[in-house]
């Protein structure tokens, strides 16, 4: 199961994407600035609140399963030493806290992904990053969302085809080559047709963007984000 936007009417769904991005940035900065048991305990409550305000729950975290082994093994690797005392608890605890803060940041990010449609994210980029760079990022991100499922299917089809022809017996290198060639050719084919279609439809650097406005609920969210950032900066200064 992958984490993706789920339509809904939760508080997080009604917030402006820009205030949600500020909260995430502030949360990440605070998690790095206060990697202590007490700091992370407070941030844990905040992280759970963020995800549940987006209507999410523990099931949304399953998507990060690929990242979990690294986070789980890191404290053991950090604690292990060659020679006495073989395992240093203090090192393991430091890295364990660092692993845990990453987990918390992932929880908050899951809340954003769950509650923000692509259209809003795109508008947020194009209104935040000025000029052609913003247009490139916004349009590009929207296209990635659009084409990812198609290319995924292309690759799986290629893989099935290789397997059906007895490709399972080939060395890994060869199997990788077959799948990659099919993927790149399909991607180029789709890109060139898309480029022609974009030109035919007067693709412009200054399109009309969807409306994006801060509502009453955004001000507390902006305050939380700015407060977290300020708290993080306060430890450095």
């Amino acid at each position: 199961m992958t984490l993706s936007y789920v339509p809904g009417d939760s508080l997080a769904h009604r917030l402006d994407p820009r205030s949600k991005l500020l909260v995430q940035a502030g949360f990440a900065a605070a998690a790095y600035a206060y990697t202590t048991p007490r700091g992370l305990a407070v941030l844990s409550l905040l992280a759970v609140a963020c995800l549940s305000l987006a209507g999410g729950g523990p099931r949304d975290l399953w998507t990060y399963r690929a990242a979990f082994p690294v986070l789980a093994i890191a404290p053991l690797v950090a604690g292990a030493t060659l020679g006495a005392p073989w395992f240093r608890v203090d090192r393991a605890v430091t890295t364990g806290l660092a692993s845990y803060r990453v987990l918390l940041i992932l929880v908050v990010a899951a809340g954003y992904v769950r509650s923000t449609p692509v259209r809003d994210s795109r508008a947020a980029i194009q209104r935040t990053v000025p000029g052609k760079a913003g247009q490139f990022l916004g349009t590009g991100v929207a296209l990635v969302f659009r084409f990812l499922p198609l290319l995924k299917r292309d690759l799986l089809t290629a893989r099935e085809a290789v397997r059906a022809r007895g490709g399972g017996a080939l060395p890994v290198r060869e199997r990788m080559r077959f799948v990659a060639v099919a993927g790149v050719n399909r991607a180029f084919g789709r890109a060139d047709r898309l480029g022609t279609a974009l030109n035919a439809r007067c693709f412009a650097w200054n399109p009309t963007l969807p409306r994006l406005a801060l509502g009453p609920a955004d001000y507390p969210a902006l305050a939380v984000g700015a407060g977290l950032l300020a708290a993080a900066v306060a430890t450095v200064v």
Partner: protein, 193 residues
């Protein structure tokens, strides 16, 4: 809807095609995250994402190849399930694999710059195998150097611990990807360039 009174600033033919290719390559690197191959000695199944980074540099060149991987990171941060294991979100960009992810645009630009000897694309038939292998080796070094630096910074590991956990076990699989990429470039199997 906001109304704009300025005139329409059309994107040129070439830029539109390049933008489409950069976006499609970013999506392809994301789709590669779902294709995993079991590999001897590797604790986790190996995906083709790094191969996608190399190919972006080789086929799109340093500028659009690098831009393509920037799109990949932006799309992933905003919720496209393109990171390892189909995950997404800003959290990944500051998490355990942060170093690897941030290195992708740099590695793609580097591979492109070495293969094409500058920012203008040249015919891949005129590029020798040693150049392609050298470019990808340099790309691999960048990816793992930044990946290890990321583990050191994010998880408070020492450089040696990070090297053991984040590089040693994966390097044999990288060699297979470099071999696969050389095979692709030399075989004329890619129709559009």
């Amino acid at each position: 809807m906001a109304t704009s009174t300025e005139s329409v600033d059309l994107v040129g033919d070439e830029a539109a095609t390049n933008l489409a290719r950069a976006a499609l390559f970013a999506a392809l690197v994301g789709a590669f995250a779902y294709v995993s191959f079991p590999f001897p000695l590797s604790p986790a199944p190996v995906t083709l994402q790094v191969l996608g980074v190399f190919l972006a540099g080789i086929y799109l060149g340093p500028v659009w190849g690098g831009a393509s991987l920037v799109l990949y990171l932006a799309a992933g941060a905003l919720g496209a399930p393109v990171f390892q294991g189909g995950s997404a979100g800003v959290g990944q960009l500051v998490g355990g694999s942060a170093g690897y992810l941030w290195s992708y645009p740099i590695a793609a630009a580097l591979v492109g710059a070495v293969v094409h000897r500058g920012t203008t694309l040249r015919d891949l038939d005129t590029v020798g195998v040693p150049t392609v292998v050298g470019a990808m080796t340099a790309g691999t070094v960048v990816i793992y150097a930044l990946g290890i630096a990321g583990l050191v910074l994010v998880l408070d590991l020492t450089a040696t611990e990070a090297f053991i956990q984040g590089a040693v076990v994966f390097l044999p699989a990288e060699a297979a990807k470099v071999a696969a990429a050389v095979g692709i470039v030399r075989s004329d199997a890619i129709a559009a360039t």
